[in-house]
């Protein structure tokens, strides 16, 4: 019975983390899947979101700035807002770069964020991080508190999915895809490409910040390792590519699937003999890389490939009456 209960809690934590990654992957999908923006600095925006809400919602402390005991909703909104402003400034500098250069620039920017979070001890408590972050429903009895938080995460995933899916099917999403497919032609069609790319970039980063905020409240703790590029950038890319870029359902599927795989590799590598266990961290990365290879061989477009929205046929002039 106890074992079963343990499995259930493990299942809830898998689903919760999967859900947080789903939000993150949806954010990346807006940038890469819709607009073709190669953001390799996801971790930085994720970290900004996590720290913003952490500083706003913790109770007063001398360890870091803040401790304002704000409600959660303020923490979430502020995380998105502040990240949006920072993304706008980053975008002003970087978005004119072509895709591969944009990737390099965003890696650099994420590293800058990470070093700031690590070294500005007065503001962030440095490497020791921000602890005692309140967690929604934490006063509920076990396991309902865990269920409550899972539900919150799933509701956020659902809301983000609906908003992003509406955007994808809209004329806005159509322009984004056009820019991704052929920039000169989108310009020739009168679209202000720079503005549209900025919108995609900022909205994507705001969604990433929301995921960061969820993670901070879930773990009740955030330190500069939250901006570890392996977990918060590389893994997210794998999720989107495996799930199917430009497909929001694919992004969510990829997030849950790859999180389960990632967690399973932990179980596998923890059973290894001692002399290999030291290297387990690298074996996990290797296994993820291998999975990516296998999936891409089988599903070059991801498990759920991009689907264009249906455009209803008009009822009227359906007949072709063109005289050649």
């Amino acid at each position: 019975m106890d074992a079963l209960y343990g499995y259930m809690l493990y299942g809830i934590s898998l689903a919760t983390m999967g859900g947080i990654y789903a939000v993150l992957t949806l954010g990346l999908n807006v940038q890469w899947g819709f607009a073709g923006l190669f953001n390799a600095g996801i971790a930085g925006f994720f970290g900004i979101g996590a720290y913003t809400t952490a500083i706003l919602t913790t109770s007063a402390t001398h360890r870091h700035i803040g401790g304002f005991e704000m409600p959660y909703i303020v923490g979430f909104l502020a995380a998105m807002l502040i990240c949006g402003v920072i993304a706008y400034l980053v975008g002003k500098v970087c978005l004119r770069l072509r895709s591969d250069y944009l990737a390099i620039a965003t890696i650099g920017i994420a590293e800058i964020f990470r070093l700031i979070l690590k070294n500005e001890t007065w503001a962030t408590n440095g490497p020791r991080g921000v602890s005692e972050i309140p967690k929604p429903f934490e006063h509920w009895p076990e396991p309902w508190n865990q269920f409550g938080f899972l539900l919150l995460v799933l509701v956020v995933v659902a809301i983000v999915y609906v908003l992003v899916e509406v955007a994808r099917k809209s004329p806005w999403g159509r322009v984004m895809t056009a820019i991704r497919e052929n920039e000169p032609s989108a310009k020739a069609a009168g679209k202000n490409v720079e503005n549209f790319r900025m919108e995609g970039f900022v909205i994507g980063c705001m969604i990433m910040a929301l995921a960061g905020a969820l993670m901070a409240h879930y773990l009740k703790f955030v330190d500069p390792n939250a901006t570890d590029p392996l977990l918060a950038t590389f893994l997210v890319w794998v999720m989107l590519i495996v799930g199917g870029s430009a497909n929001n359902k694919g992004a969510i599927l990829g997030a849950f699937l790859m999180w389960v795989v990632w967690s399973a590799t932990e179980i596998v590598t923890s059973r290894l003999p001692d002399e290999l266990a030291i290297r387990a961290a690298y074996i996990r990365i290797f296994l993820i890389g291998l999975m990516l290879q296998i999936f891409l061989q089988k599903f070059p477009q991801g498990i759920l490939p991009e689907k264009r929205p249906d455009v209803a046929k008009s009822n009227g002039n359906a007949e072709t009456k063109m005289a050649d």
């Binding site: 908003l163 509406v166 955007a167 809209s170 004329p171 806005w172 159509r174 322009v175 895809t177 056009a178 497919e181 052929n182 000169p184 032609s185 989108a186 310009k187 020739a188 069609a189 009168g190 679209k191 202000n192 490409v193 919108e199 909205i203 991009e306 264009r308 455009v311 209803a312 008009s314 009227g316 002039n317 072709t320 009456k321 063109m322 050649d324």
Partner: protein
């Protein structure tokens, strides 16, 4: 309608366009011909805003528009097509056209979330317009096909179709007949004259197909080495010795 004055474009050490001046009068179909490397497409790119001229002026409806970005040229009614079709490959043929019309409410992301009704109403208009264009081009049956799967000729038609999705005034066609079979070229010629008659477009056409130029264009401007060699009706141009030498073929060879 449009006057190009002393236009220059330098790419490093290469002067692609050199002190080039000509006029496109309203209601004409002006042909732009000349050998490869004469600066035709570069001139187009400058008029369409894709390249900023090194120096010179482009006067359009009394205003110097040289150096403005492409999307602003578009909103002034200057629309261009590409020599190599620039379709949105993964989007459907219909979407390729529906993306073009300017100021769609749904292009503002918030409208889709807070005012979906207005978006939908406009969307239906845009779709009808796109379907009309597809009918005109007789490619309605390809409506839901991904544009990347079309044949070369069909892509050329799609390029032409994009110019029909906005209130264009000056349409710049870059080799509408290149790589297109002769029957389809005849159809395209038909379509261009129909668009001119029905919608009052002014055209400027770059083309190497002399039949297309001869049957549509008056006047014809000949460019060579980045500058205007001569200008006139097709017959005048054909009779010009310099043009024969530079482009249409020397005297000792057969007729073109």
């Amino acid at each position: 309608m449009l006057r190009v004055e002393g236009l220059n474009k330098q790419f490093g050490g290469l002067q692609a366009v050199r002190d080039c001046s000509f006029k496109i009068a309203e209601g004409t179909i002006t042909g732009l011909i000349g050998p490869n490397g004469a600066g035709k497409t570069t001139t187009f790119n400058m008029i369409a805003g894709e390249l900023a001229p090194t120096s010179g002026r482009i006067i359009y409806q009394g205003e110097d528009i040289a150096g403005l970005p492409t999307h602003q040229m578009f909103h002034r009614g200057i629309v261009r097509t590409f020599q190599i079709p620039h379709e949105f490959a993964k989007m459907t043929v219909l979407e390729n056209l529906m993306v073009v019309p300017p100021s769609q409410p749904g292009e503002h992301i918030f409208n889709n979330w807070i005012n979906p009704k207005a978006v939908k109403a406009r969307e239906e208009e845009v779709r009808d317009k796109a379907e009309t264009a597809l009918e005109f081009l007789s490619i309605s049956h390809l409506r839901d096909e991904r544009a990347g799967n079309l044949s070369g000729g069909q892509k050329k038609l799609l390029e032409l179709g994009r110019t029909m999705m906005t209130d264009a005034k000056l349409v710049l066609l870059d080799e509408p007949g290149a790589g297109v079979n002769p029957t389809l070229v005849l159809k395209i010629i038909d379509m261009i004259s129909q668009l001119k008659a029905e919608r009052g477009y002014t055209f400027c056409i770059i083309e190497h197909d002399m039949d297309l130029i001869a049957s549509l264009c008056d006047p014809v401007i000949v460019l060579a080495e980045g500058t205007v060699l001569t200008e006139g009706t097709m017959d005048e141009v054909r009779a010009n010795a310099e043009v024969l030498d530079a482009y249409l073929g020397g005297g000792e060879e057969d007729d073109e």
